[in-house]
């Protein structure tokens, strides 16, 4: 038996469907209101796709999935703290990132009102973003708020810098 993980580890995931909506474009044509609600729900616990995953579901991270800055700012404190912790890990990853983040922390002082908190994770960018490369890393500049793409689990997300 080559498995080393705990016996409660997930079982029987044949295909991961998880958050199909993670890649939804901001101008998604169908039922955006509905999609926003689905985002919110799937960020709470997901429907498990494995037998043992049912038991493990509570360990899944909360995805702060909103499309408007105001909503993102209103995201739960716990989620924000988790994301900040994740961001802290990223920050320590490379010196490049540290300097880029420092720049953005300076910029944060002039952050637009209602902008999402640094470290928040969204599944779709607001409208009108422009790519900008800093220190070899591509960011999306969305009205002065910078986002960086990443995979969080199977989902393409954008981390507010």
């Amino acid at each position: 038996m080559s498995r080393t993980r705990s016996p409660k580890a997930l079982a029987f995931t044949m295909v991961l469907p998880l958050l199909y909506l993670a890649g939804v474009a901001p101008d998604a044509p169908v039922g955006l209101t509905l999609l926003q609600e689905v985002h919110a729900v799937v960020g709470a616990p997901l429907t498990p796709v494995s037998v043992a995953g049912v038991a493990r579901r509570t360990t899944r991270r909360v995805v702060v999935a909103e499309t408007s800055a105001t909503q993102a700012a209103a995201a739960s404190t716990a989620a924000t703290q988790q994301q900040q912790a994740a961001t802290a890990q990223q920050q320590s990853a490379t010196a490049q990132q540290q300097s880029a983040t420092a720049q953005q922390q300076q910029a944060a002082a002039s952050r637009p009102p209602g902008a999402p908190a640094a470290g928040a994770v969204v599944t779709a960018l607001p409208a009108g973003c422009k790519p900008e490369t800093k220190g070899g890393v591509e960011y999306q500049n969305c009205g002065g708020v910078y986002y960086r793409a990443a995979f969080q689990g199977n989902n393409l997300v954008y981390v507010v810098q």
């Binding site: 995931t13 469907p17 729900v41 043992a52 049912v54 994740a86 990223q90 960086r148 393409l156």
Partner: protein, 253 residues
């Protein structure tokens, strides 16, 4: 104590309900005795052992996933997938469906997750076997490999962990194949599996019902086609970065 007509009506209705409930329970009890039927265990074990013995295979899959909205309304999402497996250390899994296309490639050294339409990919170093890689992906990165756990050689142990009841429901035809339909219960989860009859006892369908979520949402996967003699080429398990693809981070969980 004096009873009003309303009280008497309520009492009568209650008796009715009790009788109906008992009748239902009785029927259910006949169909579903407590404990795990040995035949159910044997059929499941035969299937997982058979798949574990396959060194290379592909499976085409169709998936439905229910999401429960805050209002209680259920919404269903659909996708299709293609899984390519070569033991002990190669995997490719593609899925496409509602709004996203994603590919997962493991070449024995690294695993790559990418979305061709979004032109992004993430790549991390990976251990040398499928099982270890899937553990790492799940536990460190929260990435669930399509087709993942069925690939484990001890899939039977994983599935049966915590199971309290199991039975053989009967025969059914899935995608044209005659199958044995099994149903199991474990804390907070009911699950069913349809296993092809005959010399190749392959799983053809799985349904997972989550009992401790509102409205008990379901995840279902059907294998529309198995191929136990696939031909793979050099590209099957290799990620080739296209020029306009950008590398992004895979966040640790």
């Amino acid at each position: 104590m004096e009873t009003t007509p309303r009280d008497r009506l309520t009492a009568a209705l209650s008796r009715c309900c009790v009788i109906a409930a008992l009748a239902t329970l009785s029927v259910a009890a006949q169909a579903q005795s407590t404990g795990v039927a040995p035949e159910a265990m044997q059929m499941l074990k035969a299937s997982t052992d058979f798949l574990a013995s396959q060194q290379r295979f592909t499976a085409d899959t169709r998936v439905t996933l229910e999401i429960v909205l805050k209002s209680g309304q259920k919404i269903e999402f659909n996708s299709t997938g293609h899984q390519f497996v070569q033991r002990p250390n190669k995997l490719r899994s593609e899925r496409s469906g509602d709004l996203v296309e994603q590919v997962f490639v493991y070449d024995g050294k690294s695993l790559t997750l990418y979305q061709p339409q979004d032109k992004v990919y993430a790549q991390v170093a990976a251990p040398g076997t499928l099982e270890e890689m899937l553990d790492l992906a799940r536990e460190k990165y929260d990435v669930v490999a399509p087709f993942g756990d069925l690939i484990f050689k001890n899939a039977y142990d994983i599935l049966m962990d915590g199971v309290t009841e199991g039975l053989v429901v009967g025969k059914a035809v899935i995608e044209g194949a005659v199958c044995n339909h099994l149903a199991f219960r474990a804390p907070d989860v009911d699950w069913q599996i349809w296993i092809q009859e005959g010399a190749q006892p392959l799983p053809r369908r799985v349904v997972i019902t989550t009992l401790d979520l509102p409205n008990a949402p379901q995840f279902a996967v059907t294998v529309t086609r198995w191929n136990l003699e696939p031909s793979f080429d050099a590209q099957t398990f290799t990620f080739t970065r296209q020029a306009d693809m950008k590398r992004i981070e895979l966040l640790p969980r």
